[in-house]
Amino acid sequence: MIDPDAQIGGLLHFLLPDSSFDLERSGSQPGLFADTGIEQLLDLVVGRGASLPRIQTYLVGGADAIVRGDLDTGTLGALNLKIARDILTNAQISITGERTGEHVSRSVVLDMLNGRVRVVDSRNREDLL
């Protein structure tokens, strides 16, 4: 998430979609969860002077294993992506770009000088968003 004009932004690497099962942790480590983490990141970047209409948001990740059979629980990657999208939609923040899903792990670099996002995946594919 970045306001490229103000060069204010940040990365959130959350693990789980929903903090409601562990309110203590959501208070002490909000960045572990999509719901509390995205809210905190947004508060931080806006609090430091980013302009809400200028903010660009990227989603990277949400990969998962190859499901065999009927999974009652849903996959972690898909749940994480769904909650992240719902939260951003509710906050009326559009998603500028994404590299999500599949079965690859990804690493991501946010360039604070120009607002570009570089993604490299486990198959060595590199993208500039």
């Binding site: 693990l15 789980l16 929903d18 099962f21 562990d22 942790r25 572990l32 990969a63 998962d64 294993a65 190859i66 499901v67 065999r68 059979g69 009927d70 999974l71 009652d72 629980t73 849903g74 996959t75 972690l76 990657g77 599949e102 079965h103 690859v104 792990s105 995946d121 486990s122 198959r123 060595n124």
Partner: protein
């Protein structure tokens, strides 16, 4: 020389499990084992004894005083933790050179093993699987086949990327295509040569294919789920990424639900952080 022949040669020349580890695993395979017998066996190996005492006195346990003997260790950390220390101390070195074959930074495969062992133990406790030592040991050793596979895969990065290209193969299929054998099967062969208990061997051989043995191997279901949890957390995911099957039947076998999984994921992250002394072992 074909890759299969090369793998056979690599497996044939792998060092056997240290005698003391072998004897310890035999003793604890009987759930009513005697602590005295265990202590006596560990004491026969002075190097192992010294390493275990040093780990007991590290940040791992934060003990109120320095301990100086294995009997002290039993008193302060308990018999189960002592066995876990034997297992990790005797096996970490096998994983020393495994990372390059999977395009990982040094130590990542071992870190994944520790994370998987933690997940296995947590789930064993939560879901009433009696033998938590076997669960921990299976977690530590589930990827031992990668020790052999990595030596072949390290020169086949291009072929692996090509095989993964259209997205239809899981990584076990890629290993079979590129190296002639997958790491689970290799792990089964290695642990058979090590004469490990049958259920332990089965859980290692079938940890990506648990439906084959689900009826009579809860341990395999535990290892399968704990392995996938660690992969989902991005611990030790290299060129193989998340190209592994997640078997819904295994989740049902151990009666684990979505909220359970989230709690276990957080616990694994916490416990792994606390286990940095074990992650550092080589």
């Amino acid at each position: 020389v074909s890759h299969t022949d090369e793998l056979t040669r690599i497996i044939d020349t792998m060092p056997p499990l240290p005698e003391v580890a072998h004897r310890v695993l035999q003793i604890v395979n009987d759930l009513d084992f005697s602590a005295d017998a265990l202590v006596a066996v560990i004491r026969t190996d002075p190097t192992l004894t010294e390493r275990i005492i040093s780990l007991c006195n590290s940040n791992l346990y934060g003990l109120p005083r320095q301990i100086t003997s294995i009997s002290d260790a039993v008193a302060y950390i308990g018999i189960r933790s002592l066995v876990k220390l034997v297992v990790v101390t005797c096996t970490a070195s096998y994983f020393r050179n495994v990372d390059a074959g999977y395009s990982l930074r040094t130590g990542e495969t071992w870190k994944h093993s520790v994370a998987c062992a933690i997940g296995c133990e947590l789930m064993a406790e939560r879901f009433g699987f009696e033998d938590s030592i076997a669960a921990y040991t299976a977690g530590i050793l589930h990827n031992v086949g990668k020790v052999a596979l990595s030596q072949v895969l390290v020169n086949e990065t291009h072929a692996i990327r090509e095989a993964l290209e259209d997205g239809s193969l899981d990584f076990l299929e890629v290993e079979r295509l590129v190296a002639g054998m997958d790491h689970a099967k290799a792990g089964g062969i290695i642990t058979e040569r090590w004469y490990l208990p049958v259920d332990l061997r089965r859980s290692i051989k079938n940890h990506h294919d648990p439906q084959q043995v689900l009826d009579d191997s809860e341990l395999t279901a535990l290892v399968h789920v704990a392995d996938i949890l660690a992969i989902q957390l991005g611990i030790g995911t290299g060129i193989d990424g998340l190209h592994y099957p997640l078997c819904s039947e295994a989740l049902r076998k151990i009666c684990v639900t979505g909220p359970d999984l989230d709690k276990i994921r957080l616990q694994v992250v916490d416990e792994l952080k606390r286990s940095s002394e074990l992650v550092k072992l080589r």
